[in-house]
């Protein structure tokens, strides 16, 4: 369905490996001179589910935005299916984005359209399908997330979990090669958590979609991912399969997995020594 864009430009003696959906090499990014990411290197094999974990504000979402071409890295390479994203012009970028799907943190459904219209959006914009075909496809996608009966509802009438699922249906509407999930588990009840996790895993297995999940929910991620990257203060400080992660002796990974309040990520915000601050007359 999604047409292949022109073959990757001969940019940078491509060491691009076609078996990887996404590759980042030595990527740095700074926002207004404040460094956000330093030397990020990761490779996401096609058809796998990869998680990016870290505390809030450590740059996880920035990675997604670099992959989607919303931001340009200061240095390093960002490759999607072998194509260097920062080198694409506007038209090529839009062509590449048709191969992507993205699930935003709270769904980001278009509030002035119904659920049906939301899922049909990309089909209407990018294809010439007839209305009957679109209808069949939309109902199929909604059925896959269990919300076929909600097709006529408006986004304002949906619960958080339902909105998230509709957004997922919308993200996979054109059977993309890669789907990126930005905090898909945030703020959901336990049942919805399970549902979303299962949907991510199953869409990957059934449709061969590569899934990149950015989250800080360690419990849910360990259940569904093939590989995990840990990001802290803009650097990758640990990585591994779920088993490796659970068995890891790395202090940061342990703090994360165990949910310990203090460790490599300190509990206290940097401040003057407690005793001297209490005793001073500031």
């Amino acid at each position: 369905m999604s047409s292949q864009a022109a073959p990757a430009p001969a940019s940078a003696g491509a060491t691009a490996h076609p078996e990887y959906a996404v590759e980042l090499e030595g990527v740095t990014f700074a926002y207004d001179r404040r460094p956000v990411l330093t030397g990020i290197t990761m490779a996401v094999p096609r058809g796998s589910v990869v998680g990016i974990m870290g505390g809030s504000g450590c740059g996880k979402t920035t990675i997604l935005r670099l992959i989607g071409g919303e931001l340009q890295p200061n240095s390093g390479r960002v490759l999607v299916a072998g194509q260097s994203v920062p080198d694409l012009d506007r038209h090529e970028l839009y062509l590449m984005r048709r191969k992507l799907g993205m699930l935003f943190q709270f769904g980001a459904l278009f509030t002035d359209m119904s659920v049906y219209e939301n899922v049909a959006f990309t089909m209407r914009e990018h294809t010439d399908l007839t209305e009957e075909l679109i209808r069949d496809l939309v109902l199929m996608k909604l059925h896959a997330v269990g919300l076929r009966g909600a097709a006529r509802l408006m986004p304002s009438e949906l619960s958080g979990g339902m909105a998230r699922r509709v957004a997922l249906a919308r993200a996979i509407a054109l059977d993309p090669m890669l789907v990126m999930y930005d905090e898909p588990f945030a703020g959901l009840d336990p049942i919805s958590l399970g549902i979303v996790g299962q949907l991510i895993r199953r869409s990957s297995d059934a449709l061969g979609i590569t899934s990149l999940v950015v989250t800080h929910d360690i419990y849910e991620s360990l259940k569904i991912v093939d590989y995990l990257y840990f990001v802290s203060a803009g650097k990758i400080i640990a990585q591994g399969t779920p088993d490796e992660v659970r068995a890891s002796k790395d202090a940061f990974v342990r703090q994360f997995v165990d949910g310990a309040p203090d460790g490599p990520v300190p509990f206290h915000y940097p401040a003057a020594p407690y005793r001297s601050e209490l005793l001073s007359r500031a």
Binding site: D112, S114, M154
Partner: protein, 158 residues
């Protein structure tokens, strides 16, 4: 806010129709579009020493009836006379010895051109010139004349 497509189209259509209707209303009933657009008729020229407060588009009246409009006012730099072009509606003919005077309707009223036809058998044609004219009254000159006369009267006897 899922608005029915046909209801939306209807309302937008009504809105645009009303708006264009308003513009037409303003143009025709409030402004003088028709006057301006349908300006048939023929032109006459008249020269005045002073046009007073005459403006373009002022009415041209004969016996109080509007028979046309002032089209343009220019100054002849050779004779320093005002050259006024009148557009007269078709169907009205004026004799060659018609007098064109600049009059005021009421004390503070609008200035217009009054046409007084004479007895000549020949009529003015398109492009013709009204040779007999009476300039407009300039109030200051009138007052000045009045005072001068008064002063002259007062000075003579005694």
């Amino acid at each position: 806010m899922n608005l029915n497509r046909s209801a939306l189209d209807l309302w937008v259509g009504v809105f645009v129709a009303l708006g264009i209707g308003a513009i037409l209303f303003l143009a025709l009933k409030v402004g003088n579009l028709i006057d301006f657009a349908s300006a048939p008729g023929y032109r006459l020229e008249a020269r005045f020493d002073n046009i007073g407060g005459l403006k373009a588009r002022a009415p041209v009246k004969a016996a109080g009836v509007v028979v046309g409009r002032v089209e343009s006012i220019k100054l002849d730099s050779a004779t320093y006379q005002a050259v006024v072009t009148l557009r007269i509606e078709p169907g009205y003919q004026f004799t060659k010895d018609t007098i064109a005077s600049i009059l005021t309707s009421g004390l503070l009223g609008d200035v217009y051109i009054g046409l007084d036809p004479g007895g000549d058998s020949q009529m003015l044609a398109d492009g013709g010139t009204v040779s007999k004219t009476q300039s407009g009254i300039v109030l200051e000159k009138l007052i000045g004349q009045f005072l001068f006369d008064k002063a002259a009267q007062g000075g003579a006897p005694k």
